[in-house]
């Protein structure tokens, strides 16, 4: 067809078109008659263009669909193929796409029975942990929702390509709008159907889940007329742990939903609450009853969509006054003005059908509370966050009640409770603007105490949330008190709910862990684990990642108690399950990989640990944007690994990386940053950088003191490093104080036979040895070796090397040469079998044994051992470190007493300076010897 015309005709066409476009009806016709007189072809064209002007072919829509198609196709290559298997299921077809995934039809076809299911695969080739987590959250959410009108979750897993999937009940039915029209349902039947839907939504709300994408495609109605809610793909858990992040879930809100059913707060990127679902239910009912959308959306641009949804009042449905009121009440722009819950909407619809007066337009407490919040604007930061948490809880409280009277009562109680909190910050009460989060919480818990006759559901949830917040603030005792009260109350006044109870038990276990009460933590964790397994367990380990999380927590508890075989077993189980449930690259799985590496590492299998650490580091490095805390952790792991392997230079660099990342991620004054400083200080002492180590360790300790006070495990780590740094600087008495302080804390925190306690005894021995108090050093040193042997068994552990060396030196210095020689021989033999060659810890023991031999005049053996040790130390530390210098000088002394003066003098020359320059009291003997034997340079 010829559509192009000459430029002149085109210009004329444009002119007439423009003018005509502004005219309507008869005027337009008359205008065209006049302008196009004698040009019927032009008239035809312009008429046709004007028709198209008002037409509805949306160029933007075509472009948008093309873009969507382009993107969708990029992910298809990795999807399962029809006929392939996923776990126990055989894929038989494709049901469609929804949410972030593709939904397959499949059957479970083991011999026993055949069952049709829907499998939703998260088709994400470009799979960020964030998305992964979101998908897994959906799985989690579904697992908790057992309701006849909500599609049930059956199973979950990960495809061989690493895409997680959920297996869901297969729902044979059609979308609710299509169902209503094919069945020719009348108004009453449509309302009855929507009441069922609203109750299902309400059920989800009571399980702290908001659907936020309710639309016909997500509500299928089966032949028997029962509706099923599908696709919690972008559902959001109102879980307390989650609501802290509420803001982050609502980003890109516009992209996450269907504009036709989008609520104003979704378009604006506001907080998504249960009120969002109330709006969508209203919109859906509006469409089902009138055949129109409440808001007429014409153009496709973002701004105009937003304006229409947020500002345009819905057209009056004109059904009948009560029904109109119900619909408009559900569709209020302001979330706080809508029905307080989906249940309340359902009830009002019930009332309408029963001919009773509807409640639409009664003011809701939320509206009042929101106004209250606006009147009492608070500062940003923690307080705001905590208030958000509490406000979110209060919002949840309302949905717990779906009977009007109860709702009103709970609403009042929660409102009063919140108002009580806000009043703490009311300038009228003379408090001014300053109030700490802690004060606010204390005030809250005091209010809770006074509100004796509150609904137990409300009280239990508030106690749980406050317990969590207290623990976040470091007030673990108070947290425990809250959680224990919650448990007692639940037991006494609420129907049995194992899973909910276990969630509280799990929180309590975490608090106990933070309080270093590991036995009690293990017991609580085991209890929660057993309940989760009863509910979600399966032959593959289970369908709920709470199982994996508890397994991992139990592992950490054992780890803290130094029960490494148990820790390893639990961590391996957790890792396997988590890999299956959430995939290998999920942040939680990665954490387990890191933990397992550390456990294996601490068990003395450093080389086995390295692959886990490397996997962890590589995964973190691949993240964009980087997860700074975890990247810091990855370097920290490798830093300690290389420390244990005696590769101090690598270790130093890794610890520096870790520290830099920690400062960036947590700020300067944070326990994790303090921990990184302590660690780096510890390593630096093996690099001859005692000054820097001292500065870092002092800073770490002062941070820890501020945050935790004395007698906290974090503080003891800083004290270790600080004590060692002081020792290296010759400030032996101060060093001793640090070790004493750490010992006191550890004796209180750990059982007496604990690696940490054993280590502290060794540090004390080192300090006393340096101070010349040999009997004391001997006693402490024996204690430490005994503990370590009890902890690790007689087969030995790389950790033992340091302990042996201290005892060896002490025995020799005490003149117990025979015992020292015997102990040295046994220790060196043992360490040679368990340490990689060239390990500096072996050198330390060889040097100690050699010194005992020298004192016993067994020079040949002594010289051979010292040569070996010196070689190792030279490679590890270089010639200028006191560690190396001590061995060098010892070798020189041996050589000199054999008469090999020349070689001896050259060694003295090489190491004299380094040793005299060190203030560490542990080298006093060699230093004295050097002073008594002025060097050849001075002598000659």
């Amino acid at each position: 067809m010829r559509t192009l015309i000459s430029p002149e005709d085109w210009a004329r066409l444009q002119e007439i078109f423009d003018a005509a476009a502004d005219l309507q009806g008869v005027a337009r016709g008359a205008f065209l008659d006049e302008k196009c007189a004698g040009a019927p072809d032009l008239r035809l064209r312009i008429d046709s263009l004007l028709t198209s002007l008002d037409g509805n072919t949306r160029v933007g829509g075509v472009v948008g669909s093309a873009a969507a198609a382009a993107i969708e196709s990029s992910i298809q290559s990795e999807l399962p193929v029809i006929g392939s298997r996923l776990g126990d299921y055989r894929v038989t077809g494709i049901l469609g796409r929804g949410g972030m995934g593709i939904v397959f039809r499949a059957i479970r076809d083991d011999k026993e029975y055949q069952k049709e299911v829907a499998i939703k695969v998260a088709a994400l080739t470009w799979f960020t942990p964030d998305l992964h987590q979101r998908f897994v959250r959906e799985r989690q959410i579904l697992a908790n929702l057992d309701h006849p009108n909500i599609a049930r979750l059956i199973d979950g897993g990960t495809t061989p390509e690493g895409m997680p999937f959920v297996v869901m009940e297969f729902v044979a039915g059609q979308p609710i709008d299509a169902y209503c029209s094919t069945k020719g349902l009348d108004r009453r039947q449509r309302i009855e159907l929507m009441i069922l839907v609203a109750h299902a939504v309400d059920f989800a709300h009571r399980h702290f889940v908001v659907h936020r994408d309710l639309k016909p495609d997500n509500i299928l109605v089966a032949e028997d007329g029962s509706p099923k809610l599908l696709d919690f793909g972008i559902a959001k858990a109102l879980d307390p742990d989650d609501s802290a992040l509420a803001g982050s879930h609502t980003i890109d809100a516009m992209r996450l939903m269907t504009p036709d059913y989008a609520s104003p707060e979704q378009v604006r990127g506001g907080a998504i609450t249960t009120a969002t679902d109330v709006y969508q239910l209203g919109a859906l009912l509006y469409v089902l009853l009138t055949g129109r959308h409440p808001i007429h959306l014409t153009t496709g641009t973002f701004g105009s969509l937003e304006r229409a949804i947020c500002e345009a009042e819905p057209a009056r449905p004109d059904l009948d006054p009560d029904l109109d009121r119900i619909l408009l009440h559900a569709l209020e722009k302001e979330p706080a003005r809508r029905y307080a819950s989906a249940g309340a909407l359902a009830d009002d619809l019930d009332r309408y059908l029963g001919g009773y007066a509807v409640l639409a337009h009664a003011p809701t407490w939320r509206y009042l509370a929101a106004k209250f919040v606006r009147r009492h604007r608070l500062g940003v930061g923690t307080i705001a966050l905590i208030l958000l948490l509490l406000v979110a809880f209060a919002a949840e409280m309302t949905i717990l009640a779906h009977r009007a009277a109860q709702q009103a009562r709970i609403a009042n109680e929660t409102t009063d409770f919140l108002v009580g909190l806000f009043e703490a910050n009311d300038p009228a009460q003379g408090r001014g603007d300053k109030i700490t989060a802690r004060e606010l919480l204390d005030k809250g818990s005091a209010n809770l105490d006074r509100a004796g006759e509150q609904d137990p559901v409300v009280q239990v949830r508030l106690l749980d949330s406050m317990g969590t917040i207290y623990n976040t603030l470091g007030a673990s005792d108070k947290a425990r008190e809250m959680l224990e009260r919650s448990l007692r109350l639940r037991l006494a006044r609420l129907p049995r709910d194992d899973v909910a109870e276990s969630d509280t038990l799990a929180r309590l276990a975490d608090v106990e862990t933070d309080l270093s009460h590991y036995d009690s933590a293990i017991q609580l964790n085991m209890q929660a684990l057993a309940a989760y397994r009863r509910r979600f367990g399966s032959p593959f380990g289970g369908s709920d990642e709470r199982i994996a999380l508890r397994l991992s927590k139990i592992s950490s508890n054992y780890w803290e108690q130094d029960k490494m075989p148990q820790a390893e077993a639990f961590e391996r189980e957790a890792l396997a399950l988590s890999t299956r449930l959430v995939g290998r690259h999920d942040a939680r799985t990665l954490e387990m990989i890191g933990d397992l590496g550390t456990i294996v590492d601490l068990e003395g299998k450093a080389l086995d640990a390295e692959p886990y650490y490397r996997e962890f580091l590589a995964a973190e490095q691949a993240q964009s944007p980087p997860n700074l805390p975890d990247l810091g952790l990855a370097w920290n792991y490798l830093g300690w690994l290389h420390y244990r392997l005696g590769r101090f230079a690598e270790s130093e660099q890794e610890m520096r990386n870790a520290l830099a990342l920690r400062i960036q991620a947590y700020g300067d004054q944070h326990p994790v940053t303090a921990g990184a400083r302590s660690s780096l200080a510890y390593i630096l002492l093996n690099r001859g950088k005692a000054d820097e180590a001292l500065a870092l360790a002092s800073e770490a300790k002062s941070t820890d003191l501020k945050l935790y006070g004395l007698s906290h495990r974090e503080t003891t780590f800083a004290e270790d490093s600080l004590g060692l740094a002081l020792l290296a600087k010759g400030r032996t008495a101060e060093a001793r104080q640090e070790f004493q302080s750490a010992l006191r804390a550890r004796l209180a925190l750990f059982p007496p036979d604990h690696m940490q306690t054993g280590k502290t005894w060794m540090f004390l021995a080192m300090a006393d040895f340096a101070a010349g108090d040999l009997p004391m050093a001997a006693e402490e040193s024996r204690k430490s070796v005994d503990i370590m042997q009890r902890v690790y068994g007689p087969h030995g552990h790389p950790q033992l090397a340091e302990f042996d060396a201290v005892l060896l030196e002490t025995l020799t210095a005490q003149g117990k040469l025979e015992e020292a020689q015997e102990f040295g021989a046994a220790s060196v033999a043992k360490l040679r079998s368990i340490l990689p060659p060239g390990n500096p810890r072996l050198a330390a023991v060889e040097s100690g044994w050699a010194w005992a031999l020298y004192k016993g005049h067994k020079l040949d053996n002594a010289i051979a051992l010292l040569r070996d040790a010196l070689l190792i130390d030279e490679q590890t530390y270089g010639p200028t470190l006191a560690q190396t210098a001590q061995v060098g000088v010892r070798l020189a002394i041996c050589l000199k007493s054999e008469g090999r003066t020349e070689e001896a003098n050259s060694l003295f020359g090489r190491y004299r300076g380094a040793l005299l320059g060190s203030a560490n009291g542990s080298y006093d003997e060699e230093r004295k010897w050097l002073s008594a034997h002025p060097g050849p340079a001075k002598a000659s």
Binding site: T57, I94, W126, R255, L256, G300
Partner: protein, 199 residues
């Protein structure tokens, strides 16, 4: 060099008539758009609301700094619009090939149709219509490209084309009507064609 300043430099070069700058810019913009697009897809429900213009805006935010002068921004979006159109055309063509050719072995034919609704045809028709429009009136076709593929608003498009906003509005009104007319004619012609073929 910082990506933002690099892009700014290329934009200036392009605007002052250096054709090579375009060759350098295009891949950068392409990559960014592709990355964003795949992220969008993976962020659920793209099929309903994915807007290429939102992609262009986001690509701009990613590639340019906040301090980038307004003119550079407009030029960037003009280029992104061209790129976006190319991406979509390339894809629509290749997906047609898949539908007709051997690419369907992974899934049955029904599934392919279900997955790739017959949009590519619509889109290629639109693309051809825009190309035809450019034969009739190049400026209007360019404006369509800028607003539908690049998301430029009236003021930005006016700046990019160095014309007045009033002209942009006038041009777009006619251009859209023209395109709609073309497409509706085409659609009915295609339907007639397929009926004749017994399809």
């Amino acid at each position: 060099m910082e990506p933002a300043s690099n892009i700014t430099r290329l934009l200036r070069a392009w605007h002052s008539g250096d054709p090579d700058a375009m060759d350098e810019l295009m891949p950068l913009v392409y990559e960014q758009l592709r990355a964003l697009a795949s992220r969008y897809m993976h962020q659920e429900h793209a099929g309903h609301t994915l807007s290429p213009t939102a992609l262009v805006h986001e690509a701009y935010l990613k590639l340019l700094s906040a301090e980038t002068p307004w003119e550079d921004r407009v030029h960037f979006m003009a280029i992104a619009a061209i790129t976006m159109r190319r991406i979509l055309v390339d894809h629509a063509r290749s997906s047609l090939r898949v539908k007709r050719g051997s690419g369907a072995e992974r899934v049955s034919l029904d599934d392919v149709i279900l997955l790739q609704r017959p949009r590519s045809i619509d889109f290629l028709a639109l693309d051809e219509a825009i190309s035809r429009l450019s034969l009739q009136d190049a400026r209007k076709a360019k404006l369509i490209e800028l607003s539908y593929f690049g998301g430029l608003n009236c003021e930005e498009a006016a700046a990019a084309m160095e014309i007045s906003s009033a002209t942009v509005n006038r041009d777009l009104k006619l251009a859209k009507a023209w395109l709609r007319q073309e497409l509706s004619v085409l659609t009915s012609a295609q339907k007639a064609q397929s009926r004749m073929n017994g399809g």
